[in-house]
Symmetry: C2
Subunit: 326 residues, 2 copies
């Protein structure tokens, strides 16, 4: 059975999970049909709190996401009745295999069967920027479908992950003790994207040291800025496997949301996200349209000339543009 | 004093280090003058062995690069007279600060004063893909300037790093014991880009375990491919701080080079690199040319309409393209 874009959009708005799953697949494949349905849905979006959760492998991030999703569903002090939650798990991006290990996702299964919860795994398609682009579309669709909290789980702090973090209103960075690279995390820039820091596995030895080091690093970072920080990044302990610290995390996330609204930063983050989204879509369309205009084999022939060093890459591109830019 | 592109290219070919340093800055800034000089130099490139060295923070990668550069300069069993070496250090990429901690570079100072050695630090400029683009240009210039080995040092395995690794003929991945994420490294896809694996800090406890785990992972990875692997990724122990294992690494790098030449893979890696390079330049030029054609404020107005949800991102981009694609 094939739905029109309009039918699909209507079904998604009516809460049809199968239609939503199908739409997300079309968006991931950048299918024009799916993008059309997404355009129809787009005016309904803009209500979700988008929360990015990132951290290196081994920090217990997936368990934390699992617990947090459960808590948000069941209701917390902030939202006693619970909210509708979507989890977008961006699997380890391997541009070479497109591979993903599903172990972490299997642990998610105890959340299944709840109609107010939607879980989606994204796989890297190998294109630089492609993952961020399709994740943005998936988040827009989930937002329009009425999920009030969207948790985006990513690994590490590579540029693609940072791009994905930019989709979020609130970014939670998860660390764990004894990884021997707490100070290195500062170096890798991961702390700079954090609105909230969690030291998970807080039952491990030296957990206190990690907490203190991160607190010191954060206050130093703030101090160096030379201006008053309206939002102090909290550093929270947690033992996700035992469900400890999840309440405090949920409270902190809600407090950050209130801060964003109060300060006007919610709007500026939304603006930054939309700006990045348009740029990414524009780049992709421009490239595709241009390559479609090239005669068969012209591009490949130019690659050979550059390989033979008859032309430099810059000259080759200039020549192609001069000949074929419409 | 300002040189023409031709003068600058001539000086670089004559071995003028100041001219080379200046050219690299122009390339980093994507200055047309610099790109012109690079185009003049380009036919002289294609002789260097480009070696990527990557690994997580804390693995002692910089020390290893330092030692390797020293050995390649001084001469090894492979090249008794030593070769000219360039080191391109791609600092931790923080798209938010553009910041780079220079500690690792300071350790490099004991290599200074050697005319056959050139060291360059690159800083992230925040643009997704931008760093890979300018690094490619820098490597081309160093290649044309006669550096026979170019070591590109990157951190981690984010997409940008993987893009940079694609520049290399030979990719060395550095790990260290006790980081608690050896198996996680497989998950993050970092092993898939390795031609050579080094377990540095081999004097630490549990180093043997790390070595065995990585060897097992590599042979499993090969087995899963279902085909005979013409190149068996070696897993080498090293203690870079004491200079141990560096000879074996240099030998392994030379062996990999011979394998690439023998198997024809050198050509296919060069082709992949040139293809990625042209695509990246093309994207960048197409975007710039298009934005130049837009009337002032038109793009910003469209961002507001998307923010107000009057148009979806896809519709906005389609509309701009229809109105202003030349």
């Amino acid at each position: 059975m094939k739905w029109t874009s309009t039918e699909m959009a209507a079904r998604v708005l009516a809460g049809d999970r199968l239609a939503l799953a199908r739409l997300l697949t079309l968006i991931e494949n950048e299918d024009p049909h799916g993008l059309e349905a997404l355009s129809i849905l787009y005016p309904q979006s803009g209500n979700a709190h988008i929360i990015g959760i990132t951290g290196a492998p081994g920090t217990g991030k997936s368990t934390l996401v699992n617990r947090l999703a459960r808590l948000l569903r069941d209701g917390s002090a902030e939202a006693p009745d619970g909210v509708r939650v979507a989890v977008v798990a961006v699997d380890p991006s391997s541009p070479f295999s497109g591979g993903a290990i599903l172990g972490d996702r299997i642990r998610m299964r105890d959340l299944a069967g709840d109609p107010g919860l939607f879980i989606r795994s994204m796989a890297s398609r190998g294109a630089l920027g492609g993952l961020a682009r399709t994740t943005a579309g998936v988040v827009e669709a989930l937002d329009a479908a009425g999920y009030q909290c969207i948790l985006i789980e990513t690994v590490g702090a590579g540029q693609a992950e940072v791009e994905i973090a930019r989709l979020a209103h609130t970014t939670v960075v998860v660390d764990a003790p004894g990884r021997g690279d707490d100070v290195q995390a500062i170096k890798a820039g991961i702390l700079e994207i954090a609105d909230i820091l969690v030291v998970n596995k807080f039952d491990l030895p030296s957990a206190e040291n990690t907490l203190m080091a991160l607190k010191a690093a954060m206050s130093m970072a703030n101090y160096e800025e030379g201006e008053e920080q309206p939002w102090q990044v909290p550093v929270l302990p947690a033992v996700a496997t035992r469900g400890e610290g999840i309440d405090a995390l949920a409270e902190s996330i809600a407090a950050h949301r209130r801060y964003l609204e109060r300060s006007g930063e919610l709007q500026s983050r939304d603006r930054a996200r939309v700006t990045a989204r348009l740029q990414e879509l524009l780049r992709e369309r421009l490239e595709r349209d241009f390559l479609d205009r090239l005669p068969d084999g012209r591009y490949e022939a130019m690659i050979e000339e550059v390989l033979a060093r008859k032309r430099s890459p810059t000259e080759a591109v200039a020549e192609l543009l001069q000949a074929f830019a419409a």
